[in-house]
Symmetry: C3
Subunit: 154 residues, 3 copies
């Protein structure tokens, strides 16, 4: 199964590819590696998952935010590449959780993105290296921001 | 216009290339990609822009700190490469703001660096992927720290 | 001296290579670069160095945690590569300290990892680019998390 056909059979619809919120490009490709900017949990209607995990929102809301962030990343990849089938491998994710100082379950939250990628790309090429950590704050008080490196083919 | 001539016509003078504050190199080049260590807002006189953005200093001071950090990164690049004209592309920046827990405008702050790079390298190759996020704390209470990946040529 | 013989002459024993705490791989190699996931200060008995540096634990405990994190990274590298002698260069580390908001000595803490790598690989190839920063929180309240990029050979 290809990533695009997996998306279809999972009935997953991607949000529109996000516009930059500053002076940057959502994606830059160099030597077969795609560097994705930090993405936020953008919904199809343009709204964002907001709130500090472990304080204003719970762990499950954080997981949902990470999954939505993953969908936004897929939208950026498809917009740039034409098809997600050109993704050869998830190389590395930096999963940043807007969390309270006493929050401890960042990996569980970022799994919301990683499990999506495993479903879409398969558990071998869809699962890469990762860090899952807690930030002091995030832009617009979004719950999660994730950046990533993907190997892409022609 | 080249990056070096842009610097001249903008009357921008770079601070001295920063010395490492620990056991690391300011820059490592591998396979045509230059990895820059996290840089701080180092002034020409050796002082640093300090203070938590959104608490001890305002957003405009944060912007100025990010611009100064960008100048320090350019100094490191020139010191290593001999000329900024060898920079082929800004690939990726991680812009880390020392900010209060309720600060929301990290992208605006990090634009201080990104707009400098756009001015120096041009808006195509000077603008790369980026994350702009809020840290719990930074070394010496500096306002901003930025690391980056640059494509470089011979 | 090779990295493996350095380890022996320093009487350093590595902990077991850490298992993933979520949906990720500890290491992914692409085009001669090994991307290591964020590692924590895992002891040989499976326990972890915990506590916020500058609040619950002191700077020296943070340094020890960073060194132990470096040992865990070496364990992952050896587990994947068979021998640490295949490491050609430390390219880049992102050293993340779980620290109080007023902590300022992140570089000193992360030196615990960097000095280990310099001892094992030598001060030329064992010292790369680096950022050392303060996080709002880390998984399981570990004191330090470090991710890295290493150049590896065959």
């Amino acid at each position: 199964m290809s990533a695009e056909s997996n998306l279809q059979s999972l009935s997953i619809e991607l949000p529109p590819a996000p516009e930059p919120m500053g002076v940057y490009k959502p994606i830059v490709i160099v030597d077969g590696l795609a560097y994705l900017s930090g993405h936020g949990p953008l919904n199809a209607d343009g709204s964002l998952h907001k709130g500090r995990v472990g304080a204003e929102v719970g762990e499950e809301a954080g997981y949902a935010a990470a999954r939505q962030t993953g969908l936004a990343m897929l939208a950026t990849l498809r917009s740039e590449l034409g098809s997600l089938d050109r993704v050869k491998r998830v190389v590395k994710l930096l999963g940043m959780v807007n969390s309270s100082a006493d929050f401890e379950n960042h990996p569980t939250v970022i799994n919301g993105c990683s499990e999506l990628f495993a479903d879409v790309f398969g558990s071998e090429i869809g699962v890469g290296a990762r860090s899952a950590v807690g930030m002091g704050s995030l832009p617009g008080n979004i719950s999660v921001e994730i950046e990533g490196i993907f190997e892409v083919g022609s």
